[in-house]
């Protein structure tokens, strides 16, 4: 008989969120508690398959007796904590974070939820000034190979790609944040091209990018041609045939052509991450 692993029971902590009494296992974050209660909370740099880095600050909440707002993604829930997720201070900061990003970065291809939240908070990035007159990260995309494109004028510096390339998934460390302040950017050493870097083309950075800054070359080219049409795409789940690990693949198919490959973040084997073969080795299926 197989041993069934029984998780160690965890003490519950009790806190108040938006006047509701909430109980969550010790060690949970405030965001975990919000998810459990169905309290919608915007996130950008948080992902279920990555370590929280709490840099985007869009998930901030107000905690009683805390001088400043706290990032719900990484702050542990504590007994007696009193949390407000929709106070005036929270709304102002969340709105401003989106406005600051949208004023400096091209968010056109960001996840739908980004735009939904911006509408929710009534964001008006234009009040920061005309994009021609203020600092932005506008730059041409880096097209250096046939597999993927880095379009850093869409980069919000959420660090997800760095984490996925590093010790949250791939342990390759091909990219890191370089520069400082508004000049901070994701880069290889001395900005060498990806083929000259440590990159192994797992594409896990693409998988976690929330703004379309990192995309399959296929997607980039089709968008440039104006043929990219997500409504016309079917997603088929299959198991990768290259080895015996059993990674789930989601094949995104448009006009009977595979246009990109993902894996579900909640999949027990991949946690959303793949290798070069699963991610990019699908040409034979179309030959």
């Amino acid at each position: 008989m197989n041993d069934v692993p029984v998780p160690t029971p965890r003490r519950l902590v009790e806190l108040t969120i938006d006047d509701r009494t909430v109980r969550v296992p010790e060690g949970s974050t405030i965001l975990d508690a919000c998810h459990q209660e169905g309290i919608d909370t915007p996130t950008l740099c948080w992902a279920e398959n990555l370590t929280p880095v709490n840099v985007c600050r869009v998930c901030v909440v107000e905690v009683e007796n805390s001088r400043v707002l706290v990032p719900s993604c990484s702050r542990a829930a504590e007994d007696g904590m009193v949390v407000a997720t929709d106070s005036e201070r929270v709304r102002t900061s969340r709105k401003m974070v989106y406005e600051l990003l949208a004023s400096s970065v091209d968010l056109d291809r960001a996840d739908d939820e980004v735009h939904a939240w911006m509408d929710h908070y009534g964001c008006d990035p234009g009040r920061m000034g005309d994009k021609a007159d203020i600092a932005t990260v506008a730059q041409p995309p880096k097209v250096q190979d046939d597999l993927y494109v880095r379009d850093y004028e869409r980069c919000i510096l959420c660090y997800k790609c760095v984490e996925a390339c590093g010790d949250d998934a791939q342990f390759t460390f091909a990219i890191a944040t370089a520069g400082r302040g508004f000049d901070a950017h994701i880069s290889t050493e001395f900005d060498v091209t990806l083929p000259d870097s440590a990159c192994v083309y797992c594409g896990n950075c693409i998988g976690v990018c929330p703004t379309g800054a990192l995309v399959f070359k296929t997607e980039h080219d089709m968008r440039e041609e104006g043929t990219w049409d997500e409504d016309a795409q079917a997603v088929t789940t299959t198991v990768c045939s290259f080895c015996g690990v059993g990674c789930n693949l989601e094949l995104h198919v448009q006009d009977e052509q595979i246009v990109k490959v993902t894996s579900p973040a909640d999949h027990s084997i991949t946690n959303g991450h793949l290798c070069i073969k699963g991610r990019f080795g699908w040409q034979h299926a179309q030959s």
Binding site: N54, C56, T92, M96, G129, T172, T177, G181, D183
Partner: protein, 596 residues
């Protein structure tokens, strides 16, 4: 570590030798990984990753820049991914990541204190004379601007203050920094923290002892750690870095972490514009800091102390290095401190041009060989500090206060200053005062008293404005000249003593330009990690530039308020949280109205 891929660029012989020296000198300090927090995409630290910053200094000094070959060699020796090392190198102002135009880079401070005394003109003159001159944020020589730091390839760096084309040439040819200026209060019997500055030979342990040095350590070792912490608590000593946290409470918190390796860190990354007091202490009385760190380290149970001095202070770094070496030879550091059987030693680390590394958790990351990005708190350093281990971190001024506490006792210390702000405070006087410099006064002296002690305002009875506490502080005007300078009174008045900056402006000074420069400073020094500060500081600077160029305040006020709100409320660390304070105070006081 996983298999890492390195580049194929070759180091020069000089780079290889320089990096090897760092590894040989410091490689005995193997830091076994503690409970390191992983954040911001950082990899787990390798045992010797903490040598990365010294190794980058070695490459920079050898070649005048961080060359691909030099970086790659350092990465191979330390098992650091090249992309991460590049990310670290490009974080710092004093590391060049392009081949240098000249062997010497002449950094000229064009910050708020040096602008009114000709910094911008000096940059032009130096360039005309053929120097590779670059504008720099505050170099911490505000009492004698315009300040210059000459960063040399293949040789040690030089401070020149006040700088001029001639003085820079003299310094370079003689390989000598400008001598320290005399303390305005030198030799005064009222001095407690500065008593030896300008009196003692900073290069001599014997002279330090002849002036009462190391009696405090003797007393502390006789008392034992618990009594030492009790006396510091009784004294009511609070942190002088700006946050004013009770030092005794901090030390108790670290001492209570029994069974875990603990660290004592001295924050000498004094980079707040207008601040130079810690430099004066380090240059004039370096052994006092070594002694104070030894007392603090042994009190909290740390076997290792780390002294992090900003890279712009070559003279202070040189004197502290010498002082640490002499103390070690004399048995006052090492495996058996002063025969007590206690182990404590100090590693000296040099910053490389990053204000943010004065934020305590950013400083830990900098020492550990990561980008100087602040960590989210909690957890706090007392439980999760350097290398994830319990850490007491204090700045220079806080630490040297421990010496009189050990000698006279906590009760006697408490009798000085006010009930809630015991002790003395160091003030950095610069700008339009007759005798600029570092002053020591009891807490409770008024701003007027501080100005009078410095000979009063130049050319006027009262200042047009005073920047109190630095760029992270606030502007005040003559209505607040009678404000007692204590923690409680400044807090009640909605201002802060910060790092003790008292920068005086006159009617002739361009306040719009000054305030815009403050905004530029924060934009320049933001680490870039969190959105509110990374983008907020540049938007704030843009607003100030529009105001300078004729925009009306009414049109910009809502945006400024919202920027202040998001930076103050949602930034990770104190930099973003304070980045709008001085600017808003200038607006509230009407300093930008009717200006040019």
């Amino acid at each position: 570590m996983p298999d890492l891929r390195f580049g194929d660029a070759e180091p020069t012989d000089e780079e290889r030798i320089a990096v090897d020296e760092v590894v040989a000198d410091l490689g005995s300090v193997v830091v076994v990984e503690g409970e390191r927090l992983v954040y911001a995409g950082h990899a787990r630290t390798a045992e010797r990753r903490h040598l990365l910053l010294p190794a980058l200094h070695a490459v920079q000094r050898a070649s005048g820049w961080i060359s691909p070959g030099g970086l790659d060699y350092a990465c191979r020796q330390l098992e650091v991914p090249p992309a991460e090392a590049y990310g670290v190198a490009t974080f710092y102002h004093l590391f060049a990541h392009e081949a240098p135009e000249a062997t010497d880079v002449v950094h000229v401070c064009d910050d708020v204190a040096c602008r009114p005394v000709g910094a911008l003109g000096l940059i032009d003159e130096l360039r005309a004379a053929g120097h590779h001159a670059k504008a720099s944020p505050c170099l911490g020589q505000c009492e004698r601007g315009p300040a210059v730091l000459v960063q040399r390839c293949g040789d040690h760096d030089l401070t020149v203050a006040p700088g001029s084309v001639d003085e820079v040439a003299v310094a370079i040819s003689g390989r000598t920094s400008t001598a320290s200026v005399s303390l305005p209060q030198v030799g005064s019997p009222d001095l407690r923290l500065l008593a030896r500055v300008g009196v003692v030979d900073p290069g001599s342990l014997d002279d330090y002892r002849a002036h009462g040095g190391y009696r405090a350590l003797e007393a502390a070792l006789a008392m034992g750690p618990d009594r030492v912490i009790e006396e510091v608590t009784t004294a009511g000593l609070s942190g002088r870095g700006g946050a004013a946290f009770p030092t005794g409470v901090k030390w108790r918190g670290v001492a209570d972490q029994q069974g875990r390796p603990r660290h004592l860190v001295c924050n000498a990354d004094e980079s707040e514009p207008g601040t130079f007091k810690d430099r004066v202490v380090m240059e004039g009385d370096p052994f006092s800091l070594v002694e104070a760190m030894t007392i603090a380290g042994t009190a909290v149970g740390a076997e290792r102390g780390w002294l992090y001095i900003r890279g712009e202070y070559p003279v202070a770094a040189h004197r502290l290095r010498s002082a640490i070496d002499q103390a070690r030879v004399a048995g006052l550091l090492g495996d058996d401190v002063a025969g007590s059987g206690t182990r404590f030693d100090i590693d000296l680390r040099i910053g490389a041009g990053a204000y943010i590394c004065g934020e305590e958790t950013a400083l830990f990351n900098s020492i550990e060989g990561f980008r100087g990005e602040p960590r989210n708190k909690p957890p706090f350093p007392t439980t999760h500090g350097l290398f994830g281990e319990p850490t007491a971190i204090n700045n220079v001024e806080t630490l040297v206060n421990v010496l009189p506490i050990m000698l006279d006792g906590g009760e006697a210390y408490r009798a000085i200053g006010t009930e809630r702000s015991p002790g003395t405070r160091l003030f950095c006087l610069s700008g339009r005062v007759s005798n600029p410099g570092t002053y020591e006064h009891e807490f409770g002296i008024t701003l007027r008293g501080v100005l009078e002690a410095a000979g009063g305002v130049v050319g006027a009875d009262e200042p047009h404005a005073v920047l109190l506490g630095g760029a992270a502080g606030f502007f005040v005007r003559s209505e607040q000249l009678d404000l007692p300078l204590t923690l409680e009174d400044t807090r009640a008045a909605g201002v802060s003593l910060g790092s003790g900056v008292v920068m005086v402006f006159g009617e002739e000074d361009d306040m719009v330009d000054t305030v815009r420069r403050v905004a530029e400073f924060f934009r320049d020094e933001s680490c870039g990690q969190c959105v509110p500060c990374r983008v907020g500081t540049i938007r704030q600077e843009e607003v100030l530039a529009r105001l300078r160029d004729g925009a009306t305040l009414d049109a910009e006020r809502d945006l400024l308020d919202d920027l202040a709100a998001v930076m103050g409320d949602a930034s990770i660390c104190g930099l973003g949280q304070t980045a709008s304070g001085a600017i808003r105070s200038a607006l509230d006081l009407g300093l930008l109205e009717g200006s040019r």
